[in-house]
């Protein structure tokens, strides 16, 4: 119904909106055709099912973790997860403090263990070793017989490290049924009493270990492969090959020189001295304690013996990825079944649709035909939000969570409010007696400020929550911010231009009683009723100067109609001395 032929700014804006839509759709469509994107938004685990672990990295010796260390932690976990063959795993950081690991489905025990495994690794010499089970209380060494250090220990393998307390702890330690309590990280400068858990090949063993001699960070690489025989022939044994960095090469040489002496001595006696062993300790547990069969001068030890390909790979991976002193506390772990996720999505959407229908009914009831503009605007805002979520899902890997869906549902109300504020301003202008076209323009000027100011509050909330909050709150803040932006775009580029166009139609312009903008219903006394109809002489002129004619014109306009009548009366009573009556018509008596 809009006038054609003339260039119309409202139409131009609408065309721009269509162009934006087309561009976004083309981007998404291109992504889908190229096979990278999908039409459906990506869903988070709580809707799709899967496992999400939130891990808090803990760095030894400091309570705070810096960004670098966090990134390293993510890299470690990513390698571990990828290495374990889980597809589509996502690892991300949260608020600069936590690592979030999301895996589809339920991870295997091995994968879980691998992800959680602490990366705190080091090498300690063995001082004593024993059977895994705890020594029965009755047969424990009497207090008087407990070892007493006679001198300061001279090296890491020195028996003088073993104090009475250490020995008591060693006897009491149960490695067959280890307790679940995780204690504080051990002090690298002190001896450690710990277990090597039972594996398929060997029973549990417990150890007294000397202080740390080489740290895990000093490992530059670790590989595994079949052990080569004397003549370069390939044997059936698997081995793990470690390469140390320069400083650790020297240290490790000194260590193996010392340990090898124990080995040689024990071989001469035909026995096994545990002191010939060095333990590879991960998260305060021994993962391997090989004997030092030779002095390693080049920093490239090989660990052999009883390895299968799998166990060799596992140890090698642990050595490689474990070379960082970061450990992880599980903050929360959720395994959401696909059934529950789907159910939640279905009901969330159902509630959303019912809510939307209620809004539609209410809008139509309140605003009649104008309600359709609200609905159309909501549809456009919904469309933009959908495209944004789908595209962000592709480019930024944004996933819609249940909290995000809740954010969308809540946003319906806040989005519709922009239209309500605008419509009410137009009605106010109509009540002042303006024609619809100018009411739309004036109403928009005032509503624009309000909408911008109030949306600024919303965006501020969304931004702050997004950057500060953790967990679910972020997904919620994201959709809230996204919809606030979509709302602004829609109000400026759709609702206002549409009303500009509609104001020129007969249905709205003449204020049809179902248009929602019926001046008579709004109690307005229009100056001009469109379509060339002038007001009848019996109607009251809108502008009458009151006594305080000095008041600003802006203030004048906002006089309430009741007041205007009072002012009019005053003008009448004060006679014509002020010359306040306008030339536009005669006044009607009361």
């Amino acid at each position: 119904m809009a006038r054609t032929g003339r260039k119309n700014p409202a139409r131009r804006v609408l065309i721009w909106l269509v162009a934006i839509f087309a561009a976004l759709t083309a981007v998404l469509g291109g992504g889908v055709i190229a096979g990278h994107a999908s039409w459906a938004p990506k869903l988070a685990l709580d809707l799709e099912g899967g496992t999400q672990m939130i891990l808090a990295p803990k760095v030894e010796g400091s309570s705070e973790i810096n960004e670098d260390q966090l990134n390293q932690a993510v890299a470690i976990i990513r390698q571990r997860v990828d290495g374990s063959g889980v597809a589509e795993a996502e690892i991300s950081t949260q608020s600069g403090r936590n690592v979030v690991v999301s895996l589809p489905g339920t991870p295997s025990k091995e994968t879980r263990a691998l992800i959680q495994a602490s990366a705190d690794m080091n090498f300690r010499p063995v001082i004593a070793a024993g059977d895994g089970a705890a020594v029965p209380v009755a047969s424990r060494t009497k207090d008087a017989d407990l070892p007493k250090p006679t001198a300061k220990p001279t090296n890491a393998s020195d028996n003088n490290w073993v104090t009475a307390d250490v020995y008591k702890a060693f006897e009491a330690l149960d490695c067959v049924n280890p307790s679940q309590d995780k204690q504080e990280r051990s002090d690298p400068a002190k001896p450690l009493v710990t277990c090597e858990p039972a594996t398929a090949q060997s029973p549990a063993v417990k150890y007294i270990l000397g202080p740390v001699e080489v740290k895990g960070q000093d490992i530059t690489s670790s590989t595994f492969g079949p052990v080569q025989g004397a003549q370069g022939s390939v044997t059936n044994d698997w081995g793990v090959n470690i390469t140390f960095n320069e400083s650790a090469t020297k240290t490790f040489k000194a260590v193996t020189e010392r340990l090898n002496q124990y080995y040689v001595a024990s071989q001469a006696q035909g026995g096994n001295d545990p002191k010939a062993q060095f333990a590879i300790v991960l998260d305060d547990q021994v993962i391997s304690a090989p004997r030092s069969l030779a002095v390693i001068t080049d920093g490239r030890p090989q660990i052999t013996g009883n390895f299968t390909e799998q166990t060799a790979k596992a140890l090698s991976d642990q050595l490689r990825y474990g070379a960082l002193p970061i450990s992880f506390d599980i903050q929360s772990e959720e395994q959401i079944s696909a059934t529950l996720g789907g159910e939640q999505l279905r009901l969330g959407l159902l509630a959303g649709i019912i809510g939307l229908l209620l809004v539609v009914v209410y809008s139509l009831f309140q605003y009649r035909a104008l309600g359709f503009v609200t609905i159309a605007s909501l549809v456009v805002a919904g469309g933009l939000t959908y495209l944004a979520i789908a595209i962000l899902g592709w480019t930024e890997n944004y996933r819609l969570s249940l909290a995000g869906v809740a954010g969308l549902i809540v946003a319906i109300g806040q989005t519709a409010d922009s239209f309500i504020v605008y419509f009410e301003r137009i009605r106010d202008e109509l009540r002042e007696g303006k024609g619809l076209v100018s009411a739309v323009e004036n109403g928009w000027k005032r509503a624009k400020r309000t909408v911008l100011a109030s949306k600024a509050v919303n965006l501020l909330a969304a931004l702050v929550l997004y950057f500060v909050a953790v967990g679910n709150v972020r997904g919620f803040a994201f959709t809230l911010g996204l919809t606030a932006l979509a709302d602004l775009l829609v109000v400026f580029m759709f609702t206002h231009p549409t009303l500009q166009v509609l104001a020129r139609t007969k249905f709205f312009g003449e204020g049809h009683r179902f248009s929602g903008l019926d001046p008579a219903r709004l109690g307005a006394v229009p100056l001009y009723r469109g379509a060339g109809r002038l007001r009848t002489p019996t109607e009251k002129p809108a502008v009458v100067r009151p006594r305080n004619a000095g008041a600003a014109a802006e203030a004048e306009r906002r006089m309430t109609i009741a007041e205007r009548r009072l002012a009019e009366k005053q003008g009448e009573l004060s006679g014509s001395s002020k010359g306040s009556s306008s030339s536009s018509g005669t006044k009607e008596g009361k």
């Binding site: 506390d329 772990e333 509630a351 600024a456 305080n548 802006e554």
Partner: protein, 337 residues
């Protein structure tokens, strides 16, 4: 109804019908004070909020599509793994069971999950397990509080800049505080669990409350922009008119915002039982209602009260009074002749 509501709007706009929101401020402030006192006392008497598992730490299992809703099966499954545990087994909605336990280790959590799968005769895909470390909830709360402080600070500055007066910021924040405290009180009275979802709801109410106040305050700003040169109404009168003129908007916005939330609360939650949606929507439902009311009854009257002592406005009020006296005299004239 529409037409009568439209007439209602017209009369509010023209000033023919006017509710004295500003004048009766003492009543509103008293009601708010009582509501706040109750909202603070209630949780105190009850011994704090009903904290969700996210804040207590522990493990939670949700079993969907169970064949029987026998809660002893769940208890047994837990006891098989941890003998001394005290599980809370509940049939939350339809054929969905929820089992909560105290702090378990991560490994025990998984073993119980397996046990529940066989006990209720469902597949592994139908059991959801959640293990929450004891510090997680505190972490969420701490971050939420930081977010709250940052947001409130920034919003106060933003409003002070936009409205060019800190008194609007203060009034808006006062309205917000009233909203938050009463919402928290209602939440405590409902005995719903405080979960991170509820925290999200509270934060949204925070933003909604300020948002709503900004819309009404913008109309007040518009109405009072020329207060220095106008003698039509006192400052308080202009504020009251602005509130009346935006009353239809306030009601419409509140309805539109609350309808989808109510849909989640009463429909979604009824079908789904406890969960993200229900906790969130209760906080929102109450918060939107209270927030809209707080803008009208608390923030706007407080703003008028904060400013009416300003020398310029006192002078202006006198002018208005003298003009009115004159007008009254003029009006009585025809009657005497």
């Amino acid at each position: 109804m529409t037409s009568s509501f439209a007439r209602f709007g017209n009369e509010l706009y023209t000033g023919k019908r006017s509710y004295d929101f500003v004048g009766a401020k003492k009543i509103w402030f008293l009601i708010a004070a009582v509501a706040i006192a109750v909202s603070i006392l209630l949780p105190a008497v009850k011994g704090g909020f009903n904290l969700g598992i996210e804040f207590r730490g522990g493990s939670e299992f949700t079993v969907s599509n169970v064949k029987t809703t026998d809660s002893t099966l769940g208890e047994k499954a837990v006891h098989n793994v941890v003998a001394g545990a005290v599980p809370r087994v509940a049939n939350v909605a339809g054929n969905t069971m929820r089992i909560q336990t105290d702090k378990l280790s991560d490994d025990e959590t998984l073993r119980i999950k397996e046990g529940l799968t066989s006990a209720y005769g469902v597949t592994e895909n139908e059991v959801t397990s959640t293990f929450i470390g004891p510090t997680w909830g505190q972490d969420v709360t701490k971050q939420a509080l930081i977010g709250l402080a940052v947001f409130v600070g920034l919003a106060a500055v933003l409003m002070a800049l936009y409205f060019r007066t800190w008194k609007m910021s203060v009034s808006a924040l006062a309205g917000m505080v009233v909203t938050m405290v009463i919402t928290a009180g209602v939440y405590s009275a409902s005995d719903f669990e405080v979960t991170p979802s509820a925290i999200i709801g509270f934060l949204t109410v925070l933003s909604y409350s300020l948002y709503d106040t900004v819309v009404v305050f913008d109309k007040i700003r518009e109405n009072t922009s020329d207060i220095a040169t106008s003698t039509r109404r006192t400052f308080a009168g202009e504020v009251n008119l602005a509130v009346n003129q935006t009353l239809v908007r306030s009601i419409n916005t509140m309805m539109v915002a609350v309808l989808p939330v109510a849909a989640i609360l009463f429909i979604g939650a009824g079908l789904l039982g406890a969960g993200t949606l229900r906790d969130l929507s209760l906080a929102l439902f109450v918060g939107i209602l209270i927030g809209t009311a707080a803008t009208i009854f608390i923030a706007a009257p407080l703003y008028a009260w904060l400013r009416q002592g300003e020398p310029d406005l006192v002078k202006q009020a006198k002018k208005v009074a003298s003009r009115r006296a004159g007008a009254a005299a003029a009006e009585s004239e025809p009657a005497t002749t």
